[in-house]
Amino acid sequence: MLLRHTNAEVAERSALTINPSKTCQPIGAMYASLGIHGCLPHSHGSQGCCAYHRSALTRHYKEPVMAGTSSFTEGASVFGGQANLISALITIFNVYNPDVVAVHTTCLSETIGDDVGQIVKKAIDDGKVPEGKRIIHASTPSYVGSHVTGFSSMCASIARSFCKPSEEKINQINLLPGWVDPADMREIKRILRAMKIPSVVFPDTSGVLDAPMTGVHETFPKGGTTVEELESTGKSFHTFALGSFASEAAARELKKIAAVPFDVMDLPIGIRATDRFLMKLSELTGYPVPDSLTDERGRVVDLITDMQQYLAGKKVALFGDPDQLISLTEFLLDMDLKPIHIVSGTPGKKFAKRMESMLDEVLPGAQYRNGARADLFLLHQWIKNERVDLLIGNSYGKYIARDEDIPFMRMGFPIYDRIGHQYFPSIGYAGAMRIAERILDLFMDRQDRDCPEERFELVM
């Protein structure tokens, strides 16, 4: 047994987190920053933070993740990181020459109280920042929220830093995709193109964290939302924020700065969340949903109705980030699956509220928890008490899956041990198709593995 010390007896814990289902803010800020074209994320703290975040993102995306660090030593920790950050900016502009540096803080710089805005201002005032270069910053203390919070904070900072007030509004929407993978951002852009809706999607890591192999390493690959696009967000007619945990804060900033109204919508994972997304897009713009998307939808529904017998009634445990889990839970329920154990390390009351409204009535036994100590140790204990047919989550789920011999679908962040998430969307109808296919494959593979020989089926 890989997790041999996990037993079925759930003891309430008030201090010890075991096998977390979240990580800390700065990595989310780093990921969001990578979604700006020509941007170098910068970690203001110990160099270990930067190393850890770059490593984690690299393992997930199998791609270069470039970022700077203020390389705090004990001295900086005592006397403040101003010298380090200014020195870093000078080096960065000399050596890597990004268009934008996106600074995020860490628990260290937050604890000592560094005022990054002030430091950046000083750097600019002292002429340390070349003409036309931009430095943005977000406060992302590791001891508040989670990686999702950090992503949200950096998105808000991007909005705050680039959006300009504008009286004139143009036929363009702002779209905040939330913390999804490059393939998802690509898919969102494809949907918007299909609907002929001009848009600024930010952050946009497609083309950055799924850059093609060309024989050349581009420090700043051609993807990412451009500064020009970001500066036009104030002119947009409307903002769509996908996922309240990841995207709402930025939408609020855009509203504050440029009076762009916004809708916070569920991440379009699954059929109905995608329906609502497209319907709202269509309602607000007046642009119809094209037949090509309606047909895509019809194909997923077709698949699900065709294969429903393999899905119905199967029990699922899932963990990950709240925006994803909310939509995924809805999708699982729509496919007649039973999501009975759900945890997310990210705190926030909206999670429980949404889960309650979806689950309490139709699946009275379902357990869900988020925030402090909503960890994989707890999830595993729940599973030991009520077995499931499927586990969905990031790569850390594989230890539970192997111990309990449960089919396992990797979804979420981080996925360190498989490829695919970088290249195939899990959002929209295309994503729904892929999710349904993967779940079906798992169930069918299991049947093919376990059935007695005389029940081995050629046709399924």
Partner: protein, 540 residues
């Protein structure tokens, strides 16, 4: 390398340095050198990384919790701090571990106090105490270790007092703490030192029940990445050498506790563990030698060293038999593969030992090392321990505690008297000695400490090595340039590469990498030849 090559190297180095601001240039020049014939050639190392330079380095916590303490199976390692540090160091280092006799193995677990803002404001001591209590209540482990992350030191939580008190309270559970805040020192190296200190203070010598045997050694600085320690364990077993403890691959706390009963300390990774070796010598009288089990020849040499130390013909004979037996397979594979690797080139930038050790394996394949350097090495790792007295202790190093160790009044027992030690040294067995990476490097090659991303790219662009070795952060940058890249921290999830069996794995791995056809797929045909001969009826 030719003289012409050396000249080119010098010019190249100066060219790439030009991009740095003056202060950075000055610093980097001391860390980025072209190897000369001069045996006394010096390099700057273990100094602060220039902020913004994009470094390979991690932090003190990573060196302490991640590297040294990570691989020990039966200690519950609680990270005291926000969730990130615990999360990132959770299962990411591939220290392979089998549960011991008591079935305890917490390797797959991550324990954290998940500090929140109120803990930062009001202090995290209560939280930590409760977390330690919960760990004890749920798991009843034999030891709990506490690791401080950046904010802990700043807000002043006294982790050591808590550890001491909890230990007393439990009675049957050793509790100890590490003040390994990420900002300490200039790299992981500080963390190693802190780890060494606390393990020595709180664990070593607390049990006399070590393994018995005629030739008892400890293996220091072997972390069982990819199963290396398993290979070495097996090899030593075969030779009749008793391994009392490994620091810290596939280890248990009981092994550390009784490690002072060994008669020889063998150091693999000098950088991360030499402190423990030194302190054990002072306190218990155990000599240490440098060994290297990476490379078939290096392995043979290391086994012979150990045999020589014990001065028993029986052992020396057995070791020779084992070497003779193992070398057959090695040579067979080399014979097949070497024609395909001979003359190919590589660069290694990693860790504090591997950039040195792995040169052995490349040389066995007939490959040339064009450049190498450490991520967190000190000058002695480059130039040899002889430079130790000349290393100036700067502010960053001064902050790391230097334990005052004295002879144990009862247990000090010099394993060799002065004369026999001298005799052995005359026969070529060096004690307390490490020659460093520099002597390995050819004239005209590059030795670069704490290489920056920029320098790495330039080196690759200029010299296009056939294989590049570094870590995960470099992996895909290098490969994007069309150069196969081998991770030397994680082994790219391969290995083991230690010992004779590991050498064979390595030969095959490098053969695969330099022989793979996939790199030939880079670039679409229309990119290579952009002239199109369109014949559509009319252009539209």
């Amino acid at each position: 390398m030719s003289e012409k090559g050396k000249m080119k190297a010098d010019i190249f180095r100066d060219t790439i340095m030009e991009k740095y601001p003056p202060k950075v240039l000055k610093k980097r020049k001391k860390q980025f050198i072209v190897r000369e014939a001069d045996p006394e050639q010096s390099i700057q190392a273990n100094v602060r990384t220039v902020p913004g330079i994009i470094t390979q380095r991690g932090c003190c916590y990573a060196g302490c919790k991640g590297v040294v303490l990570g691989p020990t199976r039966d200690i519950i390692n609680i990270t005291h701090g926000p969730i990130g540090c615990g999360f990132y160091s959770w299962l990411t280092r591939r220290n392979q571990t089998r549960p011991g006799d008591n079935g305890e193995n917490y390797m797959t677990y991550c324990f954290s106090t998940d500090m929140q803002d109120q803990n930062i404001v009001f202090g995290g001591e209560k939280l930590l105490r409760q977390a330690v209590q919960e760990a004890y209540d749920i798991f009843h482990p034999k030891a709990i270790a506490i690791f401080s992350t950046c904010p802990v030191g700043l807000i002043g939580d006294d982790v050591h007092v808590i550890a001491r008190e909890m230990k007393e309270q439990f009675g049957d559970c050793n509790v100890f703490a590490f003040s390994c805040e990420g900002y300490k020192g200039v790299s992981q190296s500080a963390g190693h030192h802190i780890a060494n200190n606390q393990i020595f203070k709180h664990v070593v010598g607390t049990s006399e029940e070590g393994r018995t045997g005629r030739y008892k050694i400890n293996l220091l600085g072997e972390y069982n990445i990819g199963g290396d320690a398993f290979v070495i364990e097996e090899l030593l077993e075969k030779c009749g050498i008793t391994l009392v403890s490994t620091y810290s691959g596939n280890s248990s706390i009981d092994q550390f506790a009784s490690s002072h009963t060994a008669d020889l300390n063998c150091i693999m990774c000098h950088r991360s563990i030499n402190y423990v070796a030194g302190m054990m010598e002072t306190k218990y009288g155990i000599p240490w030698i440098k060994v290297n089990f990476i490379g078939a020849e290096a392995t043979a040499k290391s086994l012979r060293k150990i045999a020589a130390y014990f001065e028993e013909p029986e052992l020396e004979k057995r070791v020779e038999e084992v070497i003779a037996e193992e070398i057959v397979g090695v040579e067979a594979v080399l014979e097949e593969i070497r024609p395909r690797t001979e003359g190919k080139t590589t660069m290694l930038f990693v860790g504090g030992s591997r950039a040195h050790h792995y040169q052995e394996l490349f040389k066995e394949l007939g490959m040339e090392v064009l450049a190498a350097g450490y991520e967190f090495g000190h000058r002695d790792d480059y130039e040899g321990r002889r430079v130790l007295p000349s290393i100036k202790v700067d502010a960053d190093s001064r902050n790391i505690e230097e334990l005052k160790v004295e002879q144990d009044t009862e247990r000090y027992r010099p394993r060799k008297d002065e004369s026999s030690r001298e005799e052995l040294e005359q026969q070529g067995l060096s004690f307390s000695s490490y020659e460093g990476l520099m002597p390995e490097m050819e004239n005209g090659s590059f030795v670069v400490d704490d290489i920056s991303h920029y320098e790495m790219e330039r080196l690759i662009l200029e010299y296009r090595p056939d294989v590049f070795c570094a870590g995960i952060k470099e992996k895909f940058c290098v490969q994007k340039m069309g150069v196969p890249m081998k991770q030397l921290h994680s082994y790219d999830y391969g290995g083991p590469y230690a010992g004779f069996a590991g050498a064979i794995n390595w030969y095959r791995e490098i053969d695969r990498m330099v022989g793979s056809k996939v790199w030939g797929l880079i670039g679409a045909p229309w990119e290579k030849n952009r002239t199109l001969h369109g014949r559509f009826v009319a252009t539209t």
